[in-house]
Every structure is written in C-alpha cells, then in structure tokens.
C-alpha cells in the first residue's frame, strides 16, 4: 500500500520530486541540504537505496562538491566572500576579525552551535565589496570594526527566538 504524503520521509519526498529527472542525485542532495542544513549519514544511506545509487558514488559526490556539508552547521552560517573585489578590499581582515571574535577558525562551528564561519567564493556583489553573507542576509561594505556589532545582533536574534519558543 503506497504511503500518504505525511508518511513519506523528507528523502522520499525529494526523490519523488525529481522522479522524472535522469540521474537526480545532486538535485536530491540539494533538497536534503536545504531542509537539514547538511547531509546526515543516515540520509546518505537512504538516498543510496531509494535512488539505487551506490553509497560510494554518494560520498564521492558529497565530498567533491563544496556546497554539501557532512556536519551540522551552526544556526548562523557566516560566509565571508573572498572573491577578487572583496579580496582587494580586505576580506582577509574580516575573516580574521570574525575568527578572533568567535574564537574559531574558518570551517569550524562555535561550541554553542550558534555560528559557523567559512570563506566562500565570489557571491557576485562586487560593487558592495567587501561582502559577508549570514544565512539569507547580505552585509555590503562591511568594516572589521562593525563585526562585533553584527555578531551581537545575531546573538540577540537567537535569544529572542529561544524566548519566543519557550513561551
């Protein structure tokens, strides 16, 4: 008996969405990454079974493409653009500032699971260099002196969210 929509796992839903695509692996992985923020191990196993793709192929793909994460990222992913224009306008200084403020290296997540810092390739806002993207919000012409303020802004946002959720 076929499952109803509610009974389908997120991966089954994703697989169904791309059922008519040939070799839909990367599209399905994008769906999982969008909902879970990363590709959990169990998800990889399930995708292998559902799409009839060897697990080896799935990991080959996940580890090749930078976009896919194998570990859960923080609540806020801080992406510092290191494209040419941003590089010339001091992207390294921004990375250093964030790194010092949060006490983590690029590629790491803070212990409280709130912030993940990473350098990314050109996001295409070169007129606003240097650019930092945090989740969906883009900060243009950001100066290192503004970094503590930005972090505080997000910490406050999370606190309000947690407070709202609790009440």
């Amino acid at each position: 008996m076929a499952k109803t929509k509610q009974q389908l796992s997120p991966i089954e839903i994703a697989a169904k969405k791309y059922a008519r695509y040939r070799d839909p692996l990367i599209m399905v992985l994008h769906e999982i990454q969008t909902t879970r923020g990363y590709i959990p191990r169990e998800a990889a196993f399930e995708i292998a079974k559902l799409l009839n793709v060897p697990l080896a192929r799935i990991y080959e793909v996940i580890t090749f493409y930078n976009y896919f994460r194998l570990k859960s990222p923080g609540k806020a992913v801080i992406s510092v653009c290191t494209g040419t224009a941003c590089h010339l306008k001091g992207a390294d200084k921004l990375v250093k500032e964030f790194s010092e403020e949060l006490d983590i290296e690029p590629g790491q997540t803070t212990d409280d699971g709130l912030f993940h810092l990473q350098s990314v390739r050109c996001v295409g806002c070169c007129g606003l260099a240097p650019v930092v993207v945090i989740n969906e919000k883009t900060y243009g012409k950001l100066q290192p002196s503004q970094v503590p303020h930005v972090i505080a802004e997000w910490k406050e946002k999370f606190e309000t969210e947690t407070a709202d959720a609790a009440s």
Binding site: L25, I26, L29, Y67, T84, A85, R121, L128
Partner: protein
C-alpha cells in the same frame, strides 16, 4: 488550439504600459537587493498608495542597471519628461521622490515642460548621458534595467520571442546557422570558440536525442555577468536556447546554474513556467513540428564544473572531473548524446542576432571579435559595475572614460582580465583594444568578462597568489600537473612573498608553468599559470624585489 499570438501580446502590453503616466524602475538584482532595494520598492508602493496614485504610477522591479557601486538605483520616467536616475536610494528617500518629484511632476504634466528637481533630490541623481552610459552598446543587456524580468509580457513588448517566431515559421536550421556565422559570435564564457562552428557540429551529429545546455556556472571571482543576465532578462536566454535547439535539432534543454545564485534560479524557473503557459515551450511550439522542453540543474560549489565535460559529469550525478576530448560534447555529450553547450551571455545574444541579422551584430567590433561583450568592471575604479561595450574599444577608454578612472588617490597600475585564467595589462599598454586575439597576444585572455582595476598599492605577486590559491582550491584533482603543480607553484609564490625566494625558484616556476600549461587535462589547469606568467613578464621587478629584500612595492 491556435498557437499563441505574439503580436497581440506585444501590443496589449505596450498599451498597458503606456496607460501609466509614470513608471518607476527599481533595480532588483542580487547586488541592489542586498542593499535593501526590496525595502525601497515597499516604501515606493506605500507612498504611491498614500498619494492615491496607483492608477498613474507603475513600480517596475528590474534587473541590473549597471552602476552597481551606487545602488540601490531607481529610475523615474514621467511621460513626456526626461528620465531621472537616482543613486543610493533608501526607503526614506524613496518616499521623498514620490512626494517631491513624481507627484508635482504629474500635476504639471505638459509634454515639453522640464520639471525642475529640488536640489536635495538633484544631488542624488546620476546624469544619464555620462560616459558610463553613453559609451556602452547594449545588445545582451538591452532589456536589463528596463523590464520586469518576471514578466513575459514585458519581454514580448520589447520584441521578445519575435526571433523564435521568425525562425520557426520562415527559416531553416542552415539559414539560422548562417546568420550566426555572419555575426561572428564567439563563445562568451571565455573560450571564444566560434558559435556557428559548434552548432554545425552538433547539427551534424546523428542521434535520436540531442541536448542544448546553457552554462550558468559562472565561477570567476569578481565576475557576475551571467548572473546579472539571468536575473535581468531570463527570457532572452531561454529564447536563445530555443533557437539553438531548433538549429541543432535538440529535443531537451538543461540550464545548469550555480547553486549560489538563488535569485537567478528563481527567475529562470519562472521564465520557463511562463513560456510553457504561453505555449512557447513544450509540444508543437507556435503550431510547428518543433517540440522542446527544459529543466534546471543546480551546481554545487565546484568552479571546475564550468568546464564543458566536467559540467556534463555533474549533470550525470558524478564527480565533476573533465574527460579528454575528442570526443567533443557536440558529438558525445551528456548521457553520451550530442550536446550543444553554450554560455549564458552567448545564448542571450542569439535572439537579437536572428531578429536583426548577423551583419547587424558584426557592425561592431574588430576583425576577429565581432559584436559586444559584457564586463564586470570592479576594483579601484570609480564607476564600478556591469557594462556592455562594443569590441574594439580600448581598455583605456573603458577604465578611464566609462569607469571614471582610479577611485583612490593612487594611479592605476594594471587591469586584470580573464579571472584566474587571465593576466594583467599594465597601465602603459591600456590602449589595447578589447579583442580576443589581442588580449591573448598580450598574455592575458578575454575570459568571461571580469575586469579588475588595480592601483599602485596592489601587489602583483599578491594578485597572482590570490588567483592561484583559488585555482588550487578548485582543482578537481584528477590530473597530476594541475593537482600537484598548482600547489607547488603556490608554495613557491608564498615563499617569494615572504622574502625567502631564490633565483632557482624562478627557474622552478617556469618549469611548473610550462608543464601545467601543456599537460593539464582541462582549461582550469592549462590556464592556471597565466596570472603568474603574466605578472612575472610585466612586473618581474616586484618578484625580484621580494627576492632581494623583504620589501614589496
């Protein structure tokens, strides 16, 4: 069911637009959106409503207007009056534009009456006849900044899908390719391969199923031409794909777009849906035998997937590693079927060429580089933004006239073109015309269109290291020359930057560059040494200074 009547849609839309006394165009591309242009749109809508002018004023979100450094950009067009372009608009200013410019202007709407702007508004305008705009030649970006990219009617009002109609009803595939040949159009993604040739190969390949792929995996850092085109005028790209499909005999199209371009993906998705609804996509388009369908595939953070065969591997759900050619994709491409793979900008040129004829396109440019090219002019230049110029214009004109010259107190030192595959052109050589072959002779490449202006404070060794670092990160790792050679080269540059280099290191650099250029499997590795070779050729003193002392100029 009768095929769609494009002429009717065009006329209806033009009439609809003309019914407004004023149209406000707000740039809604990723860059300006990050500067809150959506909030500006909201503020404008609120203001228009509060003044009861909803029937007189239309607010049109558009694609890139070009002067990105001064965004958000808003252009006000009151019927019968000169258009006014505002820069760095915020919601509060937007409300003032409505109350202090548009409302009074509408009240006094007499055809030749030049409404006088109050100073505080005038100070935030940009004259539309400055070199930045006057020197450009818009073909690909003809609609950018002028239409709502999410409206197929707006596209049709500007003669959109007229080329499709023309070719389906009146032209043979051979005739189409002939026009492309006459136009001299070359691949705009950086390869510069003659488009007519590629389409001919794809057309000649015998197979029961063929594909057209639109390469939207623009990855050069500092380049955002393709993203802007997809966000500003997705239908132009779609129409280009349709024409390419008909000319080559393809049944299905794939748009491969970087996952990092969510707005471009959204707009393309919408464009495809709209085209389908209007029967310009799908079965028996315009009542002819031609059936064609499209899907969108996302990239996943691999610059190397901009290379044709790596892109194809990515679509096939595998690691994005290139494979040797021949066989070329036009013979054996995605899923082993003949595939015509073209860049976004290349395809966006196609409708205009078919509408106006190949000779029309060839009126601009030099002997081997015809037509126009979109560039992302950034770095230490005043008018940083997106431009489209006729080939043959000199770099000096681009940087000094259009760009407005250096944005810092320092002189311009060099212009970098071609991204990580390109090189630098020094200040003394800026009279070089923008041309595929001339750039190559100078040790750089046209590339996809990134143009970075550097001043006397920018280190050439540093820019070479920057680009090489990028290439090393993005190397797929399949072939030894790129995987290992790139890193060894980067380490040598590091060593030199830190003042620990020796003359022997320069020799090693030369050997590494030679091997990478000759023995790498794909363009990424083959062109990775270009920034190094180019800066070493023209700015050898900067390298030698670092070797002789720890000071870098």
């Amino acid at each position: 069911m009768p095929p769609v009547n494009i002429e009717k849609i065009k006329n209806d839309e033009i009439k609809r637009q003309n019914d407004f006394c004023c149209r406000i165009f707000v740039c809604a591309s990723t860059g300006c959106i990050s500067s809150q242009s959506m909030e500006v749109i909201d503020a404008l809508e609120e203001a228009v409503k509060s003044h009861d002018l909803e029937n007189e004023i239309e607010i049109v979100p558009t694609g890139c207007m070009g002067l990105c450094a001064r965004g958000p950009l808003v252009r006000v067009e009151v019927a019968g009056q000169k258009p006014v372009l505002y820069e760095t608009v915020d919601p509060m200013f937007a409300r003032l534009v409505v109350s202090e410019h548009i409302r009074p202007a509408l009240a006094k709407s007499v055809k030749d009456y030049a409404f006088k702007l109050p100073d505080f508004l005038k100070n935030r305008t940009v004259p539309l006849d400055i070199d930045f705009f006057a020197q450009q030649q818009k073909v690909v970006l003809a609609n950018a900044g002028d239409i709502d990219p999410e409206s197929i009617e707006a596209y049709i009002a500007r003669d959109g899908y007229k080329a499709l109609e023309k070719i389906l009803l009146n032209m043979s595939p051979e005739q189409i390719i002939e026009q492309i040949e006459k136009s001299g159009l070359r691949g705009r993604g950086g390869g510069g391969f003659p488009v007519a040739k590629k389409w001919t190969f794809a057309r000649q390949s015998q197979a029961e199923y063929k594909y057209v792929i639109c390469n939207g995996d623009e990855g050069d850092p500092g380049a955002y031409m393709d993203r802007s085109i997809l966000e500003a005028d997705p239908h132009a790209v779609l129409e280009g794909v349709l024409i390419a499909a008909y000319a080559t005999g393809a049944q299905e199209g794939i748009f491969y777009i970087r996952a990092e371009y969510p707005l471009a993906i959204e707009r393309m998705k919408k464009a495809i849906r709209q085209a389908k609804r209007n029967k310009l996509l799908g079965k028996n388009i315009l009542g002819t035998e031609f059936s064609f369908d499209c899907q969108i595939r996302l990239g996943a953070g691999a610059f190397v997937c901009g290379e044709e065969t790596a892109l194809i591997a990515s679509i096939e759900g595998r690691r994005g590693t290139p494979r040797p050619r021949p066989p070329y994709p036009s013979v054996k491409g995605v899923w082993d079927m003949p595939t015509c793979l073209n860049n976004v900008e290349t395809l966006a040129n196609v409708p205009s060429i078919l509408r106006n004829g190949g000779d029309w396109f060839a009126q601009w440019g030099t002997g081997s580089s015809k037509g126009t090219k979109v560039f992302a002019l950034t770095g230490k230049v005043i008018n940083s933004g997106l431009i489209e110029i006729p080939m043959g214009l000199s770099l000096r004109e681009v940087v000094e006239k259009i760009g407005g010259g250096s944005s810092t107190a320092k002189e311009i030192k060099a212009v970098q073109t071609g991204g990580p595959s390109g090189g630098v052109i020094k200040r003394e050589d800026l009279d070089l015309p923008v041309c595929y072959d001339r750039f190559q002779q100078a040790g750089s490449i046209m590339g996809s269109g990134g143009m970075i202006v550097m001043d006397q404070d920018d280190s050439m060794v540093d820019i070479a290291s920057f680009y090489l670092g990028f290439t090393v990160d993005e190397s797929c790792g399949k072939c030894a020359p790129c995987r290992i050679g790139g890193k060894q080269l980067l380490d040598l540059l590091e060593k030199i930057s830190q003042g620990k280099g020796t003359k022997k290191d320069i020799e090693s650099i030369k050997l590494l560059c030679e091997a990478m250029r000759s023995a790498s499997l794909c363009g990424l590795g083959q062109t990775a040494p270009n920034p190094v070779v180019s800066t070493l050729t023209y700015f050898e003193n900067e390298y030698l200074e670092k070797i002789n002392s720890e000071v870098c100029k």
